[in-house]
């Protein structure tokens, strides 16, 4: 138990530091520039230095904020971060608790983020923060429905919420082959859920000055950042479990395969950011309601019919 806990905390922090470095490197190489190079080998320790610097920064609490809510928001966003790792199966044996509500637990706790964003945006008493928070919530709730429905079509085929059962059901063929549309929908929704470009309206730097966390500084801002990158890892891990056969692979040990798949999806999401321009807000909402939700329902119905027929 203690070992698992320390492992999770180490994974969360190393993952966030690595992903920020990876994000900057991927962005740099796509734009034909080297990115961070000075600290450590190819800038590998740059994010460690940044984190240490952030630790020593002043925590500013503006005068007009709603203090209790303002102070609570970064803590609420960090709340689900460790819990989500309880049920992720890294390998047949490397899973902390194989709960029978696994996937439900992940969806339930990852939606806590919305609450924290609302608290942060509303309490900051900053116009950009309020705009960011409202947009963020409208977007997150719009993309949550197709996300839940697409995941449903996989659960229908497996008949269990247990993540290990879902992986076990893919011993012949990965679900991405049977359910390509569901995989596509899931990746789009996951990108929107994590507020990543081209769905990064809520925190569009160039128009909303980072949106809901404009007024946060120091490690309070750091907690938002940490939670964001952990969320990215979690949605990619869920995609791996649902569609890419989890830990399955050849020669290499299962854990390595799991991590390769997770980071491949994260790379794909980072690649999106430098390929697609940012959508306008109304396009974003109507796309979710007019395209994704009907498609997700159709996919679910077709899956149900196919299971009964074959």
């Amino acid at each position: 138990m203690i070992v698992a806990l320390i492992g999770v905390i180490a994974l969360v922090s190393v993952n966030a530091l690595f992903l920020i470095w990876m994000e900057r490197k991927v962005a740099a190489h796509i734009q034909l520039r080297p990115g961070p190079m000075e600290v450590g080998y190819h800038g590998a320790l740059q994010t460690v230095a940044d984190a240490l610097k952030l630790m020593g920064k002043e925590l500013i609490t503006p005068d007009e904020v709603d203090r209790p809510v303002y102070l609570l928001a970064p803590i609420i966003i960090f709340l689900p971060v460790l819990v989500l790792f309880l049920v992720i199966p890294f390998s047949p044996n490397l899973i902390i608790r194989d709960l029978n509500v696994g996937i439900l637990l992940i969806f339930a706790f990852s939606s806590l983020t919305v609450l924290s964003i609302l608290m942060a945006g509303w309490s900051s008493n900053n116009k950009y923060s309020v705009f960011g928070a409202i947009r963020s919530i409208a977007q997150n709730i719009a993309y949550e429905i197709p996300l839940l429905i697409t995941a449903m079509s996989i659960i229908l085929m497996v008949g269990s919420f247990k993540l290990t059962d879902i992986v076990a059901a893919q011993d012949k063929v990965w679900f991405v082959v049977i359910q390509p549309l569901a995989f596509l929908l899931y990746i789009i929704c996951a990108t929107a859920e994590t507020n990543r470009a081209p769905f990064d309206i809520p925190e569009a730097e160039s128009e909303l000055v980072a949106g809901f966390h404009t007024e946060y500084s120091g490690m309070r801002f750091g907690l938002f950042f940490l939670a964001e990158y952990t969320n990215m890892f979690v949605v990619s891990a869920v995609a791996t479990v649902l569609f890419l056969g989890g830990w399955r692979g050849w020669i290499l040990p299962p854990v390595v395969w799991f991590l390769i798949k997770v980071y491949a999806i994260i790379f794909l999401i980072m690649w999106f950011r430098w390929t697609f321009p940012r959508l306008r807000f109304d396009q974003l909402i109507t796309f979710a309601w007019k395209v994704l939700i009907p498609l997700a329902f159709v996919n679910l119905l077709v899956t149900a019919l196919a299971i009964k027929l074959f």
Binding site: L5, L82, I134
Partner: protein, 118 residues
């Protein structure tokens, strides 16, 4: 049975502890100098005019209402997903009708123009 969910509670408590610790450490390490200008809300260098918590477009409320309806439907669907195979044909028809009613609802909302964002 319930004891197997205990780790969730433990992890939640540890998460809170860790978050508070990180913020406290940052608070202790960082310097503290307050000036009247520094404590103003950030508005690209301008002095902020009036309170930020204004009224906002009614559109957002409408979208939230739809979300509530559809999210609850999704929750109804989840238990069905697990027992879909044992239920047989009955489960398929029952939930097929349910999903069709939902989609008629979506079509109605769409037709009424509630999804347009002019």
């Amino acid at each position: 049975m319930l004891i197997s969910y205990l780790p969730i509670l433990v992890y939640l408590i540890i998460s809170i502890g860790l978050a508070v610790l990180i913020v406290a450490l940052s608070e202790a390490l960082g310097k503290k100098t307050h000036t009247a200008v520094k404590d103003l809300p950030y508005e690209c260098g301008m002095v902020p005019i009036s309170d930020a918590r204004h009224r906002y477009a009614v559109k957002f409320y409408v979208i939230t209402m739809f979300f509530l309806v559809f999210d609850i439907e999704a929750i109804f669907l989840y238990p069905w997903g697990v027992i879909f195979k044992p239920l047989g044909l009955f489960g398929l028809i029952e939930m097929g009708v349910f999903i069709l009613i939902l989609m008629v609802g979506l079509a109605y909302v769409w037709g009424k123009g509630a999804l347009e964002w002019e």
